[in-house]
């Protein structure tokens, strides 16, 4: 399969937007959430997204020899699985370790379950734990960012193995150099877009019901431009295989 350079740039740009957009869905509360003062997972935006993305990248790369749709689905599943289990266990700690009810002070009722929130929020805090709406939002975020990383990985891998320098050696079925380089490239794309998204979020976000979610278009624009540039670098990387 020969990948057109423009398709590679386009795939990386779309992948970057999916990562950057996905980060906006992931409920993170940063340092306040780590001491049960804000709703969401108690860590930084970029780091949680990257952690999920890494699992997605591992599962996507395990499917390297498969067609595009399977690589993307595997990436999304891995990423969403990591975020899902992490949020679930995070809630265990909130409920049984800290003794508080998952609730948010940003909405009066959970948009999905319609549970009332304000009565369950500790006075003086902005909520704590991960209520259902944040949980579902986080799963969506994991899926999107996993899809994005896998998309970039797949297209760069197939661009690279078409060149003599990275071609699959005879007797093998995967080019290790191309897989590692494409994996590192996807890793870089993850960090660039998740940091851009976290600058846009500026600290904490609870998911798609958070007022800050309206800032998504700005981040999408920034991510698509930045990722297209990174994609252009990917095209240059492919040129390096001509030896």
């Amino acid at each position: 399969m020969v990948v057109d350079p423009l398709i590679l740039i386009g795939a990386v740009a779309v992948g970057g937007v999916l990562i950057g957009g996905g980060v906006h869905f992931i409920p993170v509360g940063g340092a306040p959430a780590a001491i049960a003062t804000a709703t969401g997972v108690g860590t930084g935006t970029a780091m949680l997204a990257a952690g999920g993305g890494m699992t997605g990248l591992i599962t996507a790369a395990a499917a390297t020899t498969s067609p595009l749709w399977l690589v993307i689905l595997a990436g999304g599943a891995g990423s969403a699985l990591m975020l899902g289990i992490t949020m679930l266990v995070g809630n265990w700690v909130y409920i049984w370790g800290v003794g508080c009810v998952p609730s948010s002070a940003k909405v009066t009722h959970d948009p999905i379950t319609k549970y009332e929130q304000s009565k369950f929020v500790t006075p003086g805090t902005e909520g704590h734990g991960i209520p259902t709406v944040c949980f579902v939002s986080g799963i969506i975020g994991g899926l999107l960012s996993g899809f994005g990383g896998a998309l970039a990985y797949y297209f760069l891998y197939y661009s690279l193995i078409a060149t003599p320098g990275y071609a699959i050696p005879s007797g093998a079925y995967v080019s290790l150099g191309a897989a590692t380089l494409a994996g590192t490239f996807a890793l870089g794309l993850f960090f660039v877009n998740s940091v851009i998204a976290s600058y846009n979020i500026g600290g904490t976000i609870e998911g798609f019901h958070d007022p800050k979610f309206a800032r998504l278009p700005r981040a999408a624009l920034a991510c698509i431009i930045a990722s297209a540039i990174v994609g252009a670098l990917g095209v240059l990387l492919v040129q390096g295989g001509s030896f």
Binding site: G30, A31, A33, A34, I35, A36, T37, G42, T43, M47, G51, G52, M54, T55, I58, A62, A63, T64, T65, S66, P67, L70, L73, A74, A77, G78, L81, M82, G84, I85, T86, L88, V89, G90, N91, V93, Y94, I95, W96, G97, V98, C100, V101, T113, Y115, K119, F120, T122, T125, H128, G129, P131, T132, V136, A172, Y173, V174, T180, G183, T184
Partner: protein, 312 residues
């Protein structure tokens, strides 16, 4: 020759067990050092007039720290494996080297942050540094050893594994993941409960008491070893469960899916057989994800009914 799927499941179980130990040790390591997000309160305390004897390990976020340490351990283990050392020795050697590097980063961050709040009179206690370094390095060793163990198993040419990424890279990726997990789960037990233990159980930490951390133990001043004694009872084990479950289930797509065909990573070409297997495996993952959403919702309902609303 054993059935490859049974063999694969055995390896996955071993990896899950290693990952469980890894996750528990990672959380406890971050509690001994007081790092990541809860450390913001330790950092804030002197400013609020609360001097303390808690370790202040501000080595970036946990994901970057654990990614670096696991990456170093994985790379050194890779070097030792290339010298044809026995696998277990190579992995231990890599982890031991990473543990040494870990202590230098821990020391410099405690010195750096403590001295940078000297304005508020926070003294630099040298015994705080020396008595915490051992447990930090020890827990770090367990984490990196198990992470590179998992990564090594993934690269073996077994059906369902044979991952195309090399050992050092897998170590970095899993290191970043374990750091993200540790700071999202177990750390809350340290930050939300242990740091504020003088306040009643059962609620979040209001903004007005931020920085008023618990500084005294049953006898004398509290140090971070007291924190780890407490968190080892809940925060650490659940973090271990979390990472273990992630590693265990993320291989179901290739191993359990393998019942419907052979998914073989780098050792055989992809074909329609392996595609069916992967599709089934990925579907299993999606079913697990939906189950997790339902379980979480049940837990939320349980907490609402059990604890009830706050009384005015």
């Amino acid at each position: 020759m054993a059935d490859p799927i049974i063999a694969g499941l055995g390896v996955v179980a071993l990896m899950g067990a290693a990952a469980t130990i890894s996750g528990a040790a990672e959380d406890l390591e971050s509690d001994v050092g007081s790092m990541s997000n809860p450390n913001s309160q330790v950092q804030l305390a002197p400013q609020m007039g609360n001097l303390h004897r808690i370790f202040n390990k501000a080595v970036s976020g946990e994901p970057v720290q654990m990614g670096t340490m696991a990456g170093i351990a994985g790379s050194v283990a890779f070097v030792l494996l290339s010298l044809n050392l026995p696998v277990i020795m190579a992995l231990a050697g890599g982890a031991a080297f990473a543990a040494l590097i870990h202590t230098t980063f821990a020391t410099t961050s405690h010195l750096g942050r403590t001295v940078s709040v000297s304005k508020f009179g926070q003294p630099l206690f040298l015994d705080v540094v020396t008595e915490h370094l051992g447990p930090i390095a020890g827990h770090g060793f367990i984490v990196t050893f198990t992470i590179i163990g998992v990564s090594y198993l993934m690269t073996l040419p077994i059906q369902g594994f044979a991952h195309p990424f090399p050992l050092p890279m897998l170590a970095v990726l899993w290191g970043i993941t374990i750091g993200a997990i540790g700071s999202s789960t177990g750390d809350i037990h340290y930050g939300g409960e242990r740091e504020y233990q003088q306040y009643p159980f059962g609620g979040g930490i209001p903004v007005r008491i931020h920085g008023d951390i618990t500084r005294k133990a049953e006898l004398g001043a509290r140090n971070s070893l007291d924190a780890v004694n407490f968190c080892a009872k809940y925060g650490g084990p659940v973090t271990g469960f979390c990472f273990g479950a992630i590693v265990f289930f993320s291989f179901w797509s290739t191993v359990v899916g393998g019942i419907f065909g052979s998914v073989t990573g780098t050792i055989l070409p992809g074909n329609s057989d392996s595609n069916t297997a992967l599709a089934v495996g990925t579907t299993i993952l999606f079913i697990i994800i939906i189950l997790i959403i339902i379980i979480n919702n049940r837990m939320e309902v349980f907490a609402r009914n059990k604890y009830g609303p706050y009384l005015k």
